[in-house]
């Protein structure tokens, strides 16, 4: 055999193996999951993916994306993913357009550990996605420039002394999170957001910019370019773990917004046995607590017992925290999404 023949044979073998490996994996079943980048994908990879593979032998591939909806909509005719982590309003939007699988609760035994209030259901009673974990929304503060006591109420964001010192999230999230919370504390709710408009406008008047990613606000907060902003608690915890000493989180006295996340499965996704097993697996207490350790996302499994360090980090028992968090009807939020984005855009541009 000449060297040329040997090289050709080796290349052919390598190419065949490269092509055959995914085919073999497909035959065995696998999870192909989409997740937000950074900590989220790492959490799923380490906290759930690797243990799942160790137990079942089925590989778990996690790809990062900035947002689930564009990808899942683009692939609707031929879904490449069979799992995605999403917000409840993402799920409601996608379900409304017929793009998601739904489930009978009895097919997900682990769902019995999740309080019914947190299970997103279709009008026919089927479960749209499987709850994974939650976090909450409050106010992040740069403690070099302000005190946490300066933001004990959501209404403190409107104070004139913060003009040009705050940041606000993009209209897609400001209309979904901030506006709904502001409406709630002013006597409205997710159906009636009018009471929340004055505070939304005031926040816009005080904001110096719109942050377009968590990395951007992390940078602006830690560098002191902004003093405070409505933000996610897990992001502040993450900054502290990375050594930031000048950022803190306030759960205002009116409470915070509960931000639940769930696993969704695109319609006609491949490997049903694999994804059903994965949906149940991630709800097991061990996996839920591991995700809490990795990224601060709080468990939905009511049997998962938090350790003292987690209770200390929250500042109260989980039961008390849940009592202070507002969970809107995400289906209403999703249904009114587009017009509220327009409303907030116009409000913030004045």
């Amino acid at each position: 055999m000449t060297r040329r023949n040997l090289l050709a044979a080796t290349a052919t073998l390598a190419a065949t193996l490269a092509l055959a490996t995914p085919a073999l994996a497909q035959g065995r079943g696998e999870i192909v999951m989409g997740a937000w980048g950074g900590g989220t994908s790492a959490t799923w990879r380490t906290g759930v993916g690797e243990p799942f593979t160790a137990r079942t032998g089925m590989p778990v591939r996690i790809n990062e994306w900035p947002d689930p909806e564009p990808q899942l909509r683009a692939q609707a005719a031929n879904p490449q993913y069979n799992m995605a982590i999403a917000t409840y309003f993402n799920a409601a939007n996608l379900h409304r357009d017929g793009l998601l699988e739904t489930f009978d609760a009895k097919d997900i035994p682990a769902l019995a550990t999740v309080p019914d209030a947190y299970v997103l259901k279709a009008p026919d009673g089927k479960v749209i996605g499987i709850p994974a974990y939650f976090q909450y929304y409050g106010i992040a503060v740069n403690t070099d420039l302000a005190k946490t006591s300066d933001f004990q109420s959501w209404n403190d964001l409107a104070a004139a002394k913060w003009k040009g010192k705050l940041s606000v999230t993009r209209p897609i999230y400001a209309s979904t999170y901030d506006l709904v919370m502001f409406a709630k504390i002013a006597g409205g709710d997710e159906k009636n957001i009018a009471p929340g408009l004055p505070l939304m406008k005031a926040l816009g008047a005080n904001a110096v910019n719109v942050y377009n990613s968590m990395a951007q606000l992390n940078t602006l907060l830690t560098r002191g370019e902004v003093t405070a902003a409505p933000y996610y608690v897990t992001r502040v915890w993450g900054l502290k773990e990375q050594g930031a000493k000048n950022v803190d989180f306030v759960l205002p006295k009116e409470g915070g917004l509960m931000l639940p996340y769930l696993l969704i499965v695109p319609k006609n996704a491949k490997h049903r046995d694999a994804y059903m097993a994965f949906l149940n697996f991630q709800l097991e207490p061990q996996q839920q607590l591991k995700m809490l350790d990795l990224s601060g996302y709080l468990p939905f499994n009511s049997t998962a017992q938090l350790e003292k360090k987690d209770v200390d980090r929250i500042g109260m028992p989980l039961k008390d925290l849940l009592a202070r968090l507002y969970q809107p009807d995400w289906e209403v939020v999703a249904r009114t999404h587009k017009e509220r984005i327009d409303l907030v855009e116009q409000l913030l541009s004045r």
Binding site: D67, P70, V168, I172, N212, G224, E225, Q346, S349
Partner: protein
């Protein structure tokens, strides 16, 4: 005959790419006119111009793009001149000019946050010098956006003008000086007119690219500094309103072409006149 057939075959991939581009462009324009029932109408355009904030975004986009182009020209022209007249090797100077392109635009723009912020390097330096008491507002406004965009697009201006300067004969300047013209007169009557084709090309390139900027306005702009490129991105990937995004894209393209096409005609006329004069 064999050569002709081969040439056609070689052009097939290009034709395929061009064809796909034209089809998708056509689909984009159609999407902006087609209503939900598929009947063409101007509803989306009417709704765009009925929204005050959208009109503000459009006007701001054209203004920022124009400003970016002028600043790029003001910086790029003397840099191109200096590089063209450099007596040693120009390779390293060219590498320095295109160095910004080797770094992702997101990373570059984050770098500007570190430099331009209230607590950034520039304000810290000016404060230390005693030049300012309170930080200069260099970010979250048009200033920050223009600085970021000029950093990204100025190399295009420099290279467009440099290409013309490198073909400019030194003997023309020497002839002008020997006939009694001073440096300013030589620049005004000889160098500037001859460099116009490069200036116009650079202007078109920078202006077009600046109108479609997304990342820099997102990161360096303030709450009321949205640009149309960013708005289109939001409509496509966050709101999923493709017809509205298509409408904005057509409006942006039309307004950009309204500037670029006359510039293109001017460039051809100038080049023709210069050829005729020589």
């Amino acid at each position: 005959m064999r050569f002709g057939r081969l040439a056609w075959l070689l052009m097939l991939p290009l034709a395929a790419v061009l064809g796909l581009f034209l089809v998708s462009l056509g689909a984009l324009v159609w999407s902006s006119f087609a209503g939900a029932d598929g009947v063409p109408k101007l509803d989306l355009y009417a709704r765009f111009f009925a929204r005050r904030d959208y009109v503000d975004v459009l006007v701001r986009t054209l203004w920022v793009a124009g400003l970016t182009t002028l600043v790029s020209l003001a910086i790029g022209y003397p840099v191109a001149w200096a590089v063209a007249r450099h007596k040693g090797r120009r390779d390293w100077l060219l590498v320095l000019i295109i160095l910004p392109w080797l770094v992702s635009v997101v990373v570059r723009t984050y770098g500007w946050i570190v430099i331009l912020g209230n607590r950034g390097l520039l304000n810290a330096f000016l404060g230390w010098l005693g030049v300012v008491d309170t930080p200069l507002k260099l970010m979250f406004n048009t200033t920050g956006i223009v600085i970021g965009l000029v950093h990204v697009f100025c190399p295009f201006m420099i290279l467009a003008i440099l290409a013309v300067f490198l073909h400019l004969e030194r003997s023309l300047e020497e002839a002008s000086m020997s006939l009694g013209a001073g440096p300013w007169q030589t620049f005004r009557k000889v160098i500037w007119p001859l460099s116009l084709p490069g200036v116009i090309s650079g202007t078109m390139i920078v202006y077009l690219m600046a109108t479609g900027a997304i990342v820099t306005p997102l990161l360096l702009g303030g709450l009321r500094d949205r640009m149309l490129g960013t708005q289109i991105y939001q409509e496509m990937f966050q709101v999923f309103d493709f017809p509205r995004a298509a409408t904005m894209a057509v409006i942006l393209t039309a307004t950009a072409l309204a500037v670029v096409l006359p510039l293109g005609m001017l460039e051809r006329r100038v080049s023709r006149n210069l050829k005729g004069a020589s």
